[in-house]
């Protein structure tokens, strides 16, 4: 896939909180949120600016919110970009003016956890190729 790709943050217990939130919503609401994610967060050029207000807005630093209104309900998806990934961190129904501090802090904790665990991911060294690549050895004990 070219451009950005929206993924769900997954915690150490294999729970994807935003996926779980959307799954629990009735069909029409879930569809609208998923369509917004597809239209505004997926497939964007890596050097493109974020979607403009009122579709998204900055929360703090690189943390942003996707704003979706369904009828009289306001949904917010907090997310942050990590390379080509748009990491969906936290979703909630908004009832007050500003994003509650507890929701913001939860999203920040999750992106910190995401970064820490990504940094700890074991990575294989690049495979040597070409005429000067070492000969493959088949070792059998």
């Amino acid at each position: 896939m070219e451009g950005t790709q929206a993924i769900f943050y997954r915690d150490k217990h294999s729970v994807e909180p935003v996926n779980r939130f959307i799954e629990a919503l009735p069909e029409k609401r879930a569809r609208k949120i998923n369509d917004y994610i597809e239209e505004y967060l997926n497939g964007r050029s890596l050097d493109a600016p974020p979607p403009e207000f009122p579709v998204t807005s900055q929360i703090e630093g690189e943390l942003r919110e996707l704003r979706v209104r369904f009828g009289n309900t306001r949904y917010r998806i907090l997310y942050q970009r990590s390379g080509g990934l748009i990491v969906l961190l936290h979703a909630f129904e908004k009832h007050s003016g500003a994003v509650p501090a507890a929701d913001k802090e939860l999203a920040i904790r999750r992106i910190e956890d995401f970064s820490r665990r990504m940094d700890a991911t074991p990575r294989k060294p690049p495979r040597a190729a070409g005429h000067d690549a070492p000969r493959r050895r088949h070792i059998r004990d």
């Binding site: 294999s14 029409k28 998923n34 597809e38 009828g71 009289n72 665990r117 990504m118 940094d119 074991p122």
Partner: protein, 130 residues
């Protein structure tokens, strides 16, 4: 730095697109909602107010007939309006939006050379009885 063991959980969950596709496969209502939003999106390109009314009515779970009755107009009028081929008068539009819990505002913009345009926005007037 501590290296993550292979058995540890990957913090990258499934993609939102994969989750949406899975739901579309198992839910007819979800697919139908997708069709409705796609139609509204197309409509918005040529008639923004018609698209807005259709989307708002859809999300409030109101039928065209219910909106028509409460706004004092006909079912066929709402149907034509939502098709995008009909422009309502200001008083009728104001009544329809009131049924949808919204208020019609009217804006006027004046272009001024070398300056920001001047704008005035105010609630749309209703019909005053003679």
């Amino acid at each position: 730095m501590r290296k993550r063991q292979l058995h540890e959980v990957d913090p990258r969950g499934i993609t939102a697109a994969e989750a949406a596709e899975a739901r579309a496969r198992r839910s007819k209502a979800y697919r139908e909602a997708g069709d409705e939003y796609a139609a509204i999106k197309e409509l918005r390109k040529r008639n923004w107010i018609a698209a807005h009314i259709r989307e708002r009515r859809y999300e409030l779970d109101l039928t065209q007939k219910e909106v028509a009755e409460q706004a004092g107009t006909s079912h066929s009028f709402i149907s034509k309006l939502e098709s995008g081929d009909h422009i309502p008068t200001i008083p009728v539009l104001k009544r329809i939006l009131a049924v949808l819990d919204e208020e019609l505002l009217i804006g006027i913009e004046r272009q001024i050379p070398d300056e920001e345009p001047e704008r005035e926005v105010a609630p749309a007037p209703g019909v005053v009885a003679a």
